[in-house]
């Protein structure tokens, strides 16, 4: 019996496929924004499994993204040309993404295991440090361009891959959490001592959360690299991690729908403010219309202020629809 979630996943894949067909007719600027939205959805939802559902405050998501970006770019750039004809090219993209995800998952395991004894602020600091270490390692690796980064990554990212993986991330995280197995994540989040008294191994669940979350962050990194066509260590600093954390907090920790909407909103908002700067309003007091160019100059300040205001008004997250983890699941 295929479940409703199967249909949703299938529908999402279909939509991304159709979107892909029409991509060439779209304004490239809008297409860019769409791809950014997709990448941010993958990042935010995967972090939601670690931060939101399992309650392990991680500030290292950009680090996992970097591992995935460098690994998959290395696969397509250095391995691609050496493969026999037909094996290289866009066909290599999926294996490259999976390789990036796998390496990031390995990094997730590496950061997950030593951090298990830590919670809260201490864990946040360790993961922050981890992200910075990753960045410094890449900056000092001459084989991947050092501080200049990698240039000339093949242009393989299409809306299909971006949105398929976004849909897959949402599917995986919500399927995991909405199962008898996956409620262990939330139990560990709520009360670790009580969870272990119920026979739940908190260690195992935390590590799984880190591995799965890091995997998708790695995939997102791969998509990002083959979309920007060049990556450098600066793009994966802790500011990037915090950007993703903001999406999760604003969306509501452990609320996938909210986090997806927050990822969309926070990606579109700066672009919208940029567009708004081009508008001009009719001036009731004079003949010259009022220019909104000042918005372009202060748009990052407006963006930050909006986040502050949103946090003050809705500290529980923007979207507390009854679709989150508090959904009243019908018993038999």
């Amino acid at each position: 019996m295929p479940a409703r979630s199967h249909f949703l996943l299938l529908a999402a894949l279909l939509v991304s496929f159709v979107l892909d067909r029409f991509a060439s007719q779209l304004n490239p600027y809008y297409l860019d924004i769409c791809t950014n939205v997709g990448i941010n959805i993958i990042l935010a939802v995967s972090l939601n499994l670690i931060n939101g559902f399992t309650g392990q405050f991680s500030l290292g998501h950009a680090g996992f993204m970097a591992v995935g970006a460098y690994t998959s770019a290395s696969v397509t750039m250095f391995l691609g040309p050496h493969l026999p004809l037909g094996m290289g090219g866009p066909l290599l993209f999926l294996p490259a993404l999976l390789a990036g995800g796998a390496m990031a998952a390995l990094a997730g395991l590496m950061v997950g295991v030593p951090s298990l004894r830590l919670t809260g602020d201490y864990l946040a600091i360790v993961t922050l440090g981890f992200g910075e270490i990753i960045r410094v390692i890449f900056r000092n690796m001459e084989s991947v361009g050092g501080s200049l980064g990698l240039q000339g990554i093949p242009d393989y990212t299409t809306p299909f891959w971006t949105f398929s993986f976004a849909a897959l991330t949402i599917y995986v995280v919500s399927s995991l959490v909405n199962s008898t197995y996956g409620r262990g994540f939330i139990a560990v989040h709520d009360d670790e001592v009580a969870a272990s008294a119920m026979g739940i191994n908190p260690t195992k669940y935390k590590i799984i959360a880190f591995i799965v979350g890091a995997f998708f962050a790695g995939v997102a990194g791969g998509i990002y690299g083959h979309f920007k066509l060049s990556i450098d260590p600066k793009g994966f600093d802790f500011v990037k991690s915090i950007e993703i954390v903001v999406m999760v907090i604003l969306g509501g920790m452990g609320n996938n729908v909210g986090v997806v909407l927050a990822a969309i909103l926070l990606t579109l908002l700066p672009e919208f403010l940029r567009t708004m700067a081009g508008w001009s309003l009719p001036n009731p007091f004079g003949s010259h219309s009022v220019s909104l160019r000042w918005i372009a100059e202060t748009r990052m300040i407006i963006y930050s202020l909006l986040i502050v205001v949103l946090m003050l008004v809705r500290p529980q997250g923007l979207f507390t629809l009854s679709l989150g983890r508090h959904r009243k699941k019908e018993g038999p």
């Binding site: 197995y181 939330i186 009360d191 009580a194 969870a195 026979g199």
Partner: protein, 270 residues
Amino acid sequence: MRDAPGPSASSLLRLEKCTMRFGGLMAVSELDLNLDTNELVGLIGPNGAGKTTAFNLITGVYPPTEGEVFFCGQPLRKQKPHQITARGIARTFQNIRLFSSLSVFDNVRVAFQLHQRSGFLQSLLRGPAFHRTERQVEQEVMEVLEIFRLGRFRHTLARNLPYGDQRRLEIVRALATKPKLLLLDEPAAGMNPTEKVQLMGLIQFIKEKFDISVLLVEHDMQVVMGICQRVAVLDHGIKIAQGTPEEVRRDPKVIEAYLGDKHQDKQRRA
């Protein structure tokens, strides 16, 4: 009384000279305790006597500094709390520890995952086997909730339940792990006399219905004396008395621990 160390055929839980030291503080000192199958034993003592520490030794929260805990004849040394639960010891907490952001239903469902659950891949693929397991778990959760008349609260978030129901839900959740031994840590705390009487009935009922042993840590003499077959009394980490409730009630050491001893006071002054 089979509290002397040494194997006993029907012994379910046995503590042998368990000592727990926190730095210089001797929380529990050379505690011997034996619990048989289908027995209801009380562990009492004044505040700070080491009752909860004894609980934490049994459930693996702390490894004992010295001594050994045996369950079903097997030593529990170096077992993590979740492994001990898997072996069949479930517990409740003195300060209620429910999964507050989960519903009543999900609180119990989480506990069921110990015995029935789909694996990681199954949860992702969601095949027929997955749905069968989920339905089966849901059915069992409802059954056990109905037994304890919590069914109508199943959609309520655990943190929104009335206090007494939270206590009951914690017991139900512990039972959902299908234990052989249930440890109750001060279940009567914060209850009024009527609720205490109901609780005594509930504990008796659980013992019969689920055919399990119960170790009850309690502060409240009325509850302990009312239902326990045997009682052990702790004071300052040392077992000062044990026996039937009647025996313990008359034991001068117990009276002294609870009420203080006039005679001793006089002797000291003299």
